[in-house]
Symmetry: C2
Subunit: 207 residues, 2 copies
């Protein structure tokens, strides 16, 4: 008799193989059969764990949210780095842009996969908000931030960062981005109630 | 021979009938045949104008954006109303909430119709941003608003208003909404660089 733990291992194995195939071969070009062959399981076993190839992709997206949150968590904990830098780097590190899984991000951004994009956004907000709440509370205690709605402001910043820069909802020309980033940082400074230019200064690190 | 104008009339007729059916009978329960019967056209004529029932729904959604923008435009032009009130009412009037087309909004918000939600968001941002740019410029000239990135801030406010309050992305409990609205208005005040409490005062009108 299979134990719960064996089931979990099998499931992780399917996810690992599928992710590798989606990234190397492409999502559309990968069939459930391709996955079965490598994991060496029967079709019935696959469908015991996942309703469809798309369900596998959804599970991979939740894994990506979790990995991003873990990176953000590590960065936020490093007290040797100034708080503003930690917060900015945590937000950037959470984005799947840093994952190298372009194929999966491309899939998520396709119009017909908009529900996967929603899945990502919801899961990311739920996972990241409590992490940043701790960091923003630290900034308030240090007289660096001044705001009345920390939780709502964090939700706003996470949602905006994702919608403006990770999605393809805005239809901006490439050369519009520098001013869009500056506008976002200026508004973030105002919402956090920090010194004007504080976040733009951080950006200079990359210039 | 049919003229372009006749074609446009036929298309509008299909949209009007379909919208009526979607709202009264429900989208899922309405078939292309139901639409054909009322408009009294052949299947081929329908498919000459629309690729599918979903394409009809997409066209209706673009109509809803246009209707909302027209309402917003009328409100913004009424110089007898204080600017802040006009801007707030224009943003609220643009939302399909005011259309009475609950069935279509519900369809748009279903997870499997996420691409229609995206279609709405993109079209709404494109159509509404220039309208609000004029209003915000008026506020800057009147020393009421103080900001460096008006266009980016308008895009941000429209996107936030829609994502936070018209979509089902946030998973908030019903009783969280009052504080979420307050947080949104406080952040909007900061981004526009207006007096703290200026927008919350507007909200009192509805209390």
């Amino acid at each position: 008799m299979k134990t719960v733990k064996e089931g979990e291992v099998r499931k992780r194995e399917i996810l690992m193989v599928a992710r590798e195939l989606f990234v190397t071969k492409g999502y559309e070009q990968t069939s459930v059969n391709d996955i079965l062959k490598i994991v060496d399981i029967a079709k019935g076993t696959f469908y015991y764990y996942f309703a469809s190839k798309e369900a596998v992709l959804a599970a991979i997206i939740l894994d990506i949210v979790e990995e991003g949150a873990k990176r953000a968590e590590r960065i936020l904990k490093d007290q040797s780095v100034p708080l503003i830098d930690r917060i900015m780097m945590a937000i950037m590190a959470q984005s799947p842009e840093f994952e190298g899984s372009e194929e999966i991000r491309d899939q998520m951004h396709k119009v017909e996969n908009a529900k996967l994009e929603q899945l990502y956004t919801k899961a990311m907000l739920k996972r990241m908000t409590p992490l940043l709440e701790v960091a923003v509370a630290e900034g308030i205690a240090a007289d660096l931030f001044h705001l009345d709605y920390p939780r709502e402001t964090i939700e706003t910043i996470l949602l905006l960062g994702h919608m403006l820069f990770d999605c393809n909802i805005m239809d901006w020309e490439m050369d519009a981005y520098p001013v869009k980033v500056k506008g976002f940082l200026a508004n973030m400074e105002r919402m956090l109630g920090t010194r004007a230019g504080e976040l733009e200064d951080f950006l200079q690190m990359f210039a």
